[in-house]
Each structure stands twice: as structure tokens, then as C-alpha cells.
Symmetry: D3
């Protein structure tokens, strides 16, 4: 089976990571996966959430938003309804948990890092692209802190990356774009560390329920994709001093 | 290892399902799983969401809320903040998808069924209890429609049920209560049909990432629990006419 | 005249009070008046509202809400509109004033008691049922405080109870159910103490204005009903230690 | 006993009613009761609320607001909190019910009259002043409709007026001003028609519960005050053509 | 060209300034410009905004609102939408900047003055009338502070006033009323000090863009109007002690 | 005087306009003025606002937002407060008026064009950059419509552009960057057409009021800058087919 884009079924879209995209953020990258472009800007704040006080810990959190015309049809701004959509909050919580899964929060005690993930262009897989870019900008922010003498070492020794897989006409497709995503029978998002452990797995039957065997195959292919994304992240930051 | 409640590690809490708990709802049950009590009321409305018009389809959706003192510490009402929390919306979407996964929406064309899941008492596992009770009240609502002559047959031939599993001190525990949930290393919610297919799987590393082998074991134990829940649901509705 | 339910015109609906209904609340009861069921949970908090600071006083307040399908037709959740309805706030203020009318707030200095009144099923008279159940749960909460040594004595020496009366086809009916309430010419809610003094009286002409003589008769019959409710409350708590 | 203002205990504050205060409203008056000044503007709209359609009826409703510096201490605008306070909604509902109690809604079928009550200066009794002024502006609006040929006759044959009474140091005081209101043991608002029937009675024990005898005395004195207010209303509109 | 009101093209509407209109405000005036009436009440608060702390400064801010029936057609209250309109915020910012432009904020260190501008009746030019009346009430408030010994001198040595001009059928009209404003080709609001310097200029082409020459003529005529307004302000406060 | 950036006082920052930046928008450009980068995406919708119906007209409107880390310090998302800030609404109205000033709305009857201006990076002058980029994306959108045969000709024969000027240490500076803007004595935004007529002029005294002579000089220099911007816009679209 050939995909509409010509990609092989287990093939990622081309990845491009532009580090330092924004001038002001302590850590910044524009993460591109095909036509999905997410700007990930990490901000360091010397304060922590109220409920964390007195625990000698820091905090990492993420926010997510789509520009109105990042999508094929224009999407109304959330501010026009006065409240963030459920989907937005779900994704923000997912990115936040993924990042907190690979950092030791006591190593940044007294600091909060907020990673803003703003989708400039959306062609499916924006939440996984946001996770992938967020790791890079978090790393860059920690490196900035190290250069400033705020921390001695970068307190992460793992990477985290994410990819989606889905079943379409009996094939398991890696890294769904928008058209594939809207037609898939089921959709599984996998978030893994560079040591190949799960931070998060979210599988949803969109049109038909799936069995354990399918789940196993999906996870295998997702793992292959995540390995490649982790390589791309590594390359993006390897020359950063 | 003995659990603090005395339960075996692969043992569910006692389930009680009181059908017809509310006088007015077309389908109603109070679903109890140990000290977690969720009132699930299905309402039939002869109208459909605007965006579904002209598609000859019906709709099933769910709402979820916790009474302020269902919890050990009182939780503030969401109305006092003016917006539903992200967690609430995430759970509502999960219940809704689970129910829509086992019903053919064209068989209830022109109708919407809203299942209100209100947590009367919460001791962990409220979202899975809500799914389990929702299936019962959806069934009762469809049976009411059949009795009224609105539909000829009950348009579901599968059940759906859900359970959580978690890892605690290297043990995989089935059906976490509140204390266990707050201490677990990871937490996996599994939603399955009576034909043992996945509608949804959501695994989250709370304290440490988990590997594929652990995931497989978790799914095995979850499946055992779901089979027992499905039996309890079946018994609850078997004498309904 | 016989009422549609078969009750005499000056007869209350059967009352059932289940103390300790909720596991976690410091004071809890499910108050049933016929088909109207209200869960009243009192929460003790060791903090007081900001504006009360420095006055050596405590505070008692109440919140009120109806489950969406407590009513014959489903009622939308207030959270879906983003603000509590005027009716909700009016009832919350009424319950709060009724409870504060029989407690000496300086005897619970430094503490706030919040009574959550959640209507599980509604067949008219939910606000008066909420007051009646709230007194019981407030008493239970104060008893809990006494048992914990927080207070020496229960700082209330009166009870408070409420009932509605209305005029329908020239008859004065005690304790209106939903059908009677929606058809009555006028509707009077009376809140009285066990010493037969008014805490609150609210009379509203729904269809036709009423004269002083009618008001006097209504109050007489309301008083009879309130005496019986006060007996029921007393019985409910008499064996509590 | 002399009141701090020098008034007798059963004496109203001086009333002044300026008809036609606003240039644009179909019915307008500035109602002054001592230092309490309420601008009551009635607007005629040729449309009715959605839920009233098909019933061949009109509608009358009221809105109430206080200017921020109508009070001794500045009160924050409700818009700064994003929602109307419970008190505001309670008063709006009270004014609306009072006006609807003396008009036959089918005589203005197809029309809605909105009476805006904006408190310019507040020295206690704003809700009763709003009712009193609203009747005048409603009458003026109906007269405007008659002059325009929209209706043949003014469809009200009763007036409605309101006053507050309270108990202070064993005396029953008529028409409480702000200082008296804040110190009274109880506070009763009475809304009556010119035929001396109740539209609404709201009695609240602020500091101590009150007995039936006190209630009777309060109602007597309130009735005396309402008769005088009704005279003042009558005089205000008697020369209107 | 004669204007529909009979005014000459460079002629202001009659101005009336009633000082001390409200009983409670530290500074109060009702400012009338023809049929446009704005109540301007200045409130002194002994606290400053959080972000100003530690700067040894005071603050002056303004709020603006229109009564619902100040307009020819009734305008809905902003509270019914839950948020202030963009226009409201724009005007509030304009009034605030105008007042802050003529006061030395360090002379009222520790104090905030809030000027509430409530439009009682609107016939065009409400924002400029609000600025003109606000200066008077600000002055009165400062005079009150001086009388109370809070400040030694009134810390303003300039006045500020505003007027609108517009082009209609090739004529430049001073002080547009509602009808003129809605038909003008362009609309320029000028805010000037008594020393004839600009605090603010806002010119907007409504129907056709305008050239530099027109702008110069508009500014000339606006200056003439502002001189007259400044005289009227001066007269209004000259006898205040 | 040399500016901190080395620019001459009457010199614009370098302009770069990348047409077609976004894949999906009917008209799109990234407008860069030095370190200020605004993404302007025009969306064509085949529907018009409700209040415009029946007038045989189209509509053009703009929305404006800043990414949280477009600024030196992170700015909180507006959604976190639930309402757009006053500044945002003011800017949106300014951009919208500027665009509507140069298009004949009856030439796009039945259509609405929404221009989303999202600030990717902010170094002062974001509102003027948004206007400049919006004109380009509006032109591209209209060109797209022409190519699709929706309109026969591009219905604008003028360009519109904007720039800010300010006074700093007696010098008039063209095109203020963030540092200059925050220190300027006054700040004037000028919006002009290619025929050198004003669409909008907004001058604000930040620290000290300014006289007519200064205003004239500012306008002269602004005009010089606008001519250069109009050239840059023209070049950007000249090869578009």
C-alpha cells in the first residue's frame, strides 16, 4: 500500500528543527514534521506555583494553542468563547506530563519552566510534534541556565519523544497526517523515553475497536519512529554550547 | 503482598448496581464499586446537535461531575470558577467515546442520549465506574425506547466496561482505590468491549516510566477485571423487560 | 378536596432522614420528603472568610445545586452557562441565613461550616427540604466537633425547619409537590425555629394577589407542618453520640 | 423614640417623582425617597422572549443596577467580576414579579416592556423605591402606547407599591434608611396592590427571630406607608395625557 | 450651512455643570452638553494598584458606562454578555490618560482616585463630555483632600478638556451630536490642556480619508471649542472652597 | 543624535515581506520590520455578519494576538483571563478600520475576509506592522478570489500603511522600537493611504503634552516612512499572478 503522500507505511515525515527561532525565549525551536510546524518556546521564571512552596522543587508545565489559520478551515480563537476547549487542556496536560517524566524537578528547585507550544501550521500530529519540539526547547533552556551558572549540569539524562500510529485499511501507518488521521480506524499516541520506556500511551478506537495483537504491532512501529525522532532531537542540540 | 484493604492484587472491589435509582430518567442506575458511587442517568432527547443535522444519525454524549463532598477533602464546585476543569472535560470525552464505540448511531437517528454521571462518593476509579454505570443506564434507556415503540430492537450487541490497573512496589494492582492511585508508579485505564477489543487505553507514568512487558501484564490483569464487570452489568439488566 | 396524591390538604409528605449517608463529610444526611431527595453534607474548614478576620467569629454558609436529571425534564448544568442562575443564588442565601439564625457564630470562632445541598431528585419543595436536611447535617457536624474536642458543647439550642404552603382552588395546601407548586395561586415559604419564631417568610403571588386573612391561614398551617418536621429532625439525631 | 433623621417611627421619607426624566425612554421617571434616588426607564420592544412565542402574550421584565458611587463606599461594577451578584438577580426578579402582578400580559401581546432601574444614589430601600418608580414608568410607557394607537386602553387597573419595615430597639420603623437597615433586628419588605392585597412579602430575621404578633404589626404599618406611596404615584401620573 | 439643531458650524452645545450632584462622592458633577448628560463621580481610595507599590506615587483611573436607556434604542447591559465591550475599554483608557496627563502622581502618593463616568443620557460626544466632567470632579476631589488636610495644595495647575470635530458635506462641524456623528465623513477627538498642548488626538476616517489641510482646519476649530469648555470648567469650580 | 540601534532618526527598520508563508490561508504573509515579526493570514468566508444581511455588502475584519513569548518577558495568554484585553480590542478595531478604509465592500458582497494578525516576535510597532502586513495578505486574498473567478477585478486601488513616530530628547524618531517606545514623551501612530490621506491618526502624550508644531513635524516624518513602506508592499505583491 502506498500512502497518499507517497510515504511508506512505516516512514516518518521529514523532520526539521530550527533551534533559537525566537529571540527572547530562554529555549526556542521551530519543530517541523512535514507540513506540521510548531513553535516551542521555553520560558524560565524564578517563581513556582503556590501549591509547590516549601517542597524544594521546581516545576515544568506546557501550554498549547493553534493559530486560527494553522488549519485548512479557519478555527475560531478560544478567547472568542472565553474558555480553553477540552482538547486544548488535554493536550497541555499530556505535554506537561511528558516533560516532567524525564526531568528531576528537585534539580531546578525554585524555578518554573513554561513551554509554549504554538501551532503555526497543522497537518495532523500537532500534539506529538509539540512534545518533540518541547523536549528540544526544554533542553536549550536548561543549557541557558547552565551557561548562566544557575545550575551546574543539565538535569536530564533522557530524551522524550512521541509519535502517532493508526490503522487504515488493515495497514498500520506511522506518523499520520491530517487526512490519514481523519480516516483511521484507530489512533494510538505513544510517548517514550530514549531508554524505550513508556511515559504515556493513548489509544482510541475511532471507527472500530482493536485487539491486543494490533496494539502490539502498533507499538512496535511507533517505537521505530520514536527512535528516529530521538536521533533528530539529538542532532539538533549536539552542537549547542 | 496484601493491599491495605485486604484485597488480593488482582481482585475487584465489590460491585453493586441499583437499576432505576432515579424516578425520572429514561435510564438510571447507581453504580457502586466499593466506596466509589456514581449515579448514571440517561436522558433521551428528541433532538440532535446542530452539526449532525442531515446525516440521518443520532448521538450519545456524557457529562461528568463530582459532588463537592464526594471527596475526602471538599472540592470546590466548578461553577465557582466559571469553567469546567480540564480533567472534567477529559473524562466526559472518554465516557462519550466509550459509549459511542458500542452503539450504531444510525439506529437512533433523530435522538440524542445524554448520560449524566454524577459522583456521589469518590474512592478512586470514578471515571471507570462512570463508564461501567453508563453502559447500564444507556441500555435501560434504549430498553425504554423499545418499550415505547421508538425503536424496534436495542441497537447494541456489545457491552463496554473499564477498569484501572497500576504498578505499586513492583506489583500490578487491579482496580485502584484512592490511596493506591495516589501512590502508584503508573496508572493504566483500559476500556474494552465484551468481545475483548479495546475502545480506549490510557497509560500514564506517574512516577517512573514503564516497559512493554509491564504494559502486557497490566493489560492481562485488566482484561480479567473487565470480564467480571461485564458479568455484573449483564446480571443487572438481565431481568429488565 | 383531595389532592392528586391522595394527601389531606394539611398533610406533609412522608419524611425519611438517613444520617451519615456520605462517608467523608463531617455531617451528612440524605433528606427525603416524598419524591424530593436532597443530600446535605456539612464540611468543617479551619479557616474563615477574609472579611470576617479579627472578629472572633466563625461562619456557616450553604451551597445548593440540582443534578441535571433530578427534574422531570433534564436541566442543563449551570457550568454550561458559566454562571450560577439567580434562583440558585437566592436559595443559597436563604439556606445560609436560616442556619445562621440558630447558631451563635462566636462559639465556632475560627471555623467555617459549608453545607452542600445537592438535589438528587426534585418533586417540589427542594429549598425547604434543603433547609430541613441542612439543620440535621449541621447538628451532626457540630456533634463531630464536640467528639473531637474542638468545641465543648453543641452551640445550638434551637432547631430550624421550613415548609411551603400555597393556595389552590381556594384551599390552602401544606407542603406543595411539583404539580401543585406549578398551579398554585400563591406560594409562601416559611422558615421557623423550634420556638415558633420566624427566621424568614417569603410569600409570592403567582397568579393572583392574596389578602391578609389568607396569609394568616397559610401561616397557621405552615406552623403545624413545621412542628412535625422538627419532630422528625429530633428523632433523626436523638441517638447520635 | 425619635429616629436619627428626626422622622416619626411610622413616617415615610419625602417622595418626589420626576416624570419624563429621560428623553428617549417610552416611560421614564426619577423616583426619590429621601436620599435614595432611582432612575426607572421603561423601554418598549416589539418582540417577546423566545419561550413565550405562540402564547398570544406580552412580557414585562426589570433590570436593576447600582452606580458604583451611589453608595457611601464605592461598590465595584459587576462587570469587573463578570457576573451579576446574587442580590442583583434577586431584586430583578422581585421587581419583575411585582409589575407582572398588576398587568394582564395578554393585553400587550407581541410586546415586551423592560424597566431599567438604575440607582443613582442609595440610602436604603432601593428595591422598594425601584418597584414604586417602576410602576410609574410602566404606566407612562403604556400611556405612550395608547397615544400611539398600539393599545386602546391602559391595561392596568391597579397600582403596586412597596415599602420596608424593620424592628429596632422594640420599635417598628417604617421605610428604613441605610443606617436603620443595617442595625434592624428584622427587615420585612411588603409589596401590595392598591386593593391592599399582597404581591410579595419577604421577611428576614437579621439578628433575632420574630413572632407572629410582630409580623402582624409590621404589616399594619407597612400598609399605612403603601397607601401614601400609592397616593404619590397617582398624583405623579394624574395629569399625564 | 445650518446644522439640524440650528447651531452654527463652529458652535458648542450649551454646557451645564452641576457640582456636588452626588451626596457621597469626594468629587462629583453632572456634566451636561446639550442632551448628553454624564455623571462624573470621583472616589478617593487610600490604596494603590499592586504594581505601583514602592514607587511613592498615587494613581488616577476612570471607568465609563452607559445606562441601558441613555440611548435612543435601548443598549443591552454589558453584564449580560459577561465582558466589557472593546469600545468601553478604549474610552476608559482615554479618560484615564487624559487625567493622568495633568496631575503629578507623586503629589498623591499612596492614594488612588477612581472617576466613574456614567452616561445618563447620550446624544453624541459622551467620551469628550466624560473627560470634561471628570476634570471637574477630579478637581473637587483634590479640593476635598486639601480641606481634609490630606494634601497641602491641589496638585494640578492645568485643566484638560476634549471635543470632537467632524467633516460633513465639506463643512467642519464642532461638537458633533449623535445624528451628525453617524453621518460624518471623519471624526476627530482632540484632548488638550489649558496651555493648548495635546494630550491625545484621535482622528478616524469613517467614510472617506482626509488630507493634512483638513486636519489642520479641524484642529483649529477644536481648539476654539476647547477654550470655551475650559472657561466653563473654570467657572464651575471657581467658588468652591 | 544616534539611536541605540544605530539607525538615523528618520530611518525605518529593514522590512522583509514573505508572501505565501502559510499553506492554507487564501492570503498570507510574514511581515518583518526589524525584530518585529507579524504573521498576517487572510481567510475568505462565504458568509457575512448577521447585522449586514440584506445590504449587498461584504465585510473585512481583523483579529490580533501576541504569542506569549513574542515579548521579552513572557505575557500570559488572554484565554487564561477569559477575556481579550482592552489593548487587543483597540488594535483589532484599528486594523479593521484601516483595511475597510481602502476597499469597496460592495465589491465583495456576500463574503467576509478575516485577517488574523499573530505577533510571532515583538520589538515595538506591532500594530503598525500588522496593518502593513494585513494589506499585503488582503491583496493576496483578493487576488486568489480573482484567480478563482469569484471577483473579476481586485477591488482596491489604494494601499494603506502605518507607522509610529515619537519624541525622545527633543528628537522626532521614526518607527520606534520597543526601547524607544517605552521612553518616548509622546507616541503618534499614523495610518495613511497611498494617496497620502489619513485613515487614522492617534497621538498620545505619554510623559508630556505636545504642541501643534511638534505634531506637524511628526506627521511629516511619518509620511516619509509610509511612502517607503508602501513601496515595500508594492514590491512584495508585484509579481503575484
Amino acid at each position: 500500500m502506498k500512502r497518499h503522500s507517497g510515504r511508506d507505511i512505516d516512514c516518518l515525515r521529514p523532520i526539521e528543527i530550527i533551534c533559537g527561532y525566537s529571540k527572547y525565549a530562554e529555549g526556542s525551536c521551530l519543530y517541523k514534521s512535514g507540513d506540521t510546524h510548531v513553535l516551542c518556546n521555553a520560558t524560565l521564571e524564578e517563581k513556582i506555583p503556590v501549591w509547590l512552596r516549601g517542597q524544594h522543587k521546581g516545576w515544568v508545565t506546557a501550554e498549547y494553542s493553534m493559530l486560527p489559520r494553522s488549519t485548512q478551515e479557519r478555527t475560531r480563537r478560544e478567547i472568542s468563547t472565553g474558555r480553553p476547549a477540552g482538547r486544548t487542556q488535554e493536550i497541555q496536560r499530556l505535554i506537561s506530563r511528558s516533560l516532567r517524566g524525564i526531568i528531576n524537578l528537585s534539580d531546578i528547585a525554585g524555578y518554573q519552566i513554561i513551554v509554549d507550544c504554538d501551532v503555526i501550521q497543522a497537518d495532523g500530529g500537532t500534539r506529538t510534534a509539540a512534545i518533540n519540539g518541547s523536549w528540544v526547547s526544554l533542553y536549550l533552556c536548561l543549557n541557558w541556565m547552565k551557561n548562566k551558572g544557575i545550575i551546574r549540569n543539565i538535569p536530564i539524562n533522557e530524551q522524550v519523544a512521541a509519535v502517532s500510529c493508526g490503522v487504515f485499511e488493515q495497514n498500520i501507518l506511522l506518523d499520520l497526517d491530517y487526512i490519514e488521521d481523519s480516516r483511521a480506524d484507530c489512533d494510538v499516541n505513544v510517548v517514550m523515553t530514549s531508554q524505550e520506556k513508556f511515559i504515556e500511551i493513548q489509544g482510541t478506537a475511532e471507527n472500530s475497536a482493536f485487539d491486543k495483537n494490533t496494539l502490539d504491532n502498533i507499538i512496535n512501529i511507533a517505537q521505530k519512529g520514536i527512535r528516529e525522532i530521538i536521533d533528530a532531537q539529538k542532532k539538533a542540540v549536539q552542537d549547542i554550547r
